[in-house]
Assembly symmetry: C2
Homo-oligomer: 197 residues x 2
């Protein structure tokens, strides 16, 4: 319906997650009407990111160097590793300023339905790091979902025999939340995990 270059951009935009045909059309026309420099900046940002960024050789975080800024920071505790599902989970944990160890990005969680087993995740690389880096504790910071819980249990079974302490992020009530609005599973976990004052 549209001129071929416009239609091609609409098609490419609608391949992005969460962008439907209508949004893709709106975005394409926004880019058509935007300043030439703005459109060019977006196009360049995509190309630049792809050419300059890759995965950290140690923890699989994104980095422009061989190792990411966290792995190469000498003040980080190398005996403590936080295992996350995805790269974008790292800045969320960093923002708490409560964690001073390193990370390990698994690349997902175990999900038999999606056909993702431990061999599709970076488990072997983690075991390799336990030996090489003298890791003493692993925090399983996978999502509090069925898949994340399964992955955390798998990590515990995999690493405990190697003498590594494996812990899991606490489940419970979100701070600032209301007990009235808590679902029964979360509230149940908050009860089980209650802390003496």
């Amino acid at each position: 319906m549209f001129e071929p270059p416009v239609q091609r951009l609409i098609d490419e935009l609608s391949r992005l997650p969460g962008i439907g045909a209508k949004s893709a059309q709106r975005l394409a026309f926004h880019l058509l009407n935007a300043d030439e420099v703005d459109a060019r900046r977006l196009s360049d940002a995509i190309t630049d990111m792809r050419s300059s960024v890759h995965l950290c050789a140690r923890c699989f975080n994104v980095t422009a160097d061989v190792e990411c800024s966290i792995c190469s920071d000498p003040r980080r505790d190398t005996t403590l590793v936080c295992v996350v599902e995805r790269v974008q989970d790292i800045p969320v944990i960093e923002r708490t300023q409560e964690f001073r160890g390193r990370y390990h990005v698994l690349g997902g969680a175990i999900s038999p339905i999606a056909g993702i087993g431990p061999e599709q995740l970076r488990m072997k690389e983690l075991v390799g790091r336990v030996d090489d880096e003298g890791i003493e504790e692993v925090i399983a910071a996978t999502n509090p979902t069925l898949e994340g819980d399964t992955t955390a249990l798998y990590l515990a079974r995999l690493l405990k025999p190697l003498g590594v302490k494996v812990s899991r992020l606490a489940s419970g009530l979100p701070v600032g939340g209301d007990i009235d609005y808590a679902d029964e599973i979360t509230l149940g976990r908050a009860l089980t995990g209650r802390q003496e004052l």
Copy 2:
């Protein structure tokens, strides 16, 4: 928080309409994990569109030529022009296969609140076309909103003195809709515009 090239892409994506900080982050990580060729294709589609597409010299539709495919189609009725607010309205009307004239893209609608008056729209260009092309009827296909209605009335006042018939798209019940769910303004217009059977 992220590596500079990733953060730059997130920033550029969040400048797009309807894309918030969280969506921009999700899209950036999708592009980071996507195939190199897929990311490159999106980047190229943006650049290609900007370099190969511009506005039709006659009707301001988008085109890769001097005039768009509709204006240069000899089977089109040149005495009938459909005035739309935006380029993306043209394919919607084309899909009805009920219109065989040409178009004129105003570039918006009159909106005193947004500071858009007739001089910000392509009114002068439309008046020029009336003389040059022997236009006999103009269909105001602006949106059925306050701004679109105002623009349609302005078009009528502007063009009727030049001997041009000005009509407006009918307002009424959407086909397949339910009278129960119609708002009172739409239903009111459907009553006023009722057609004898």
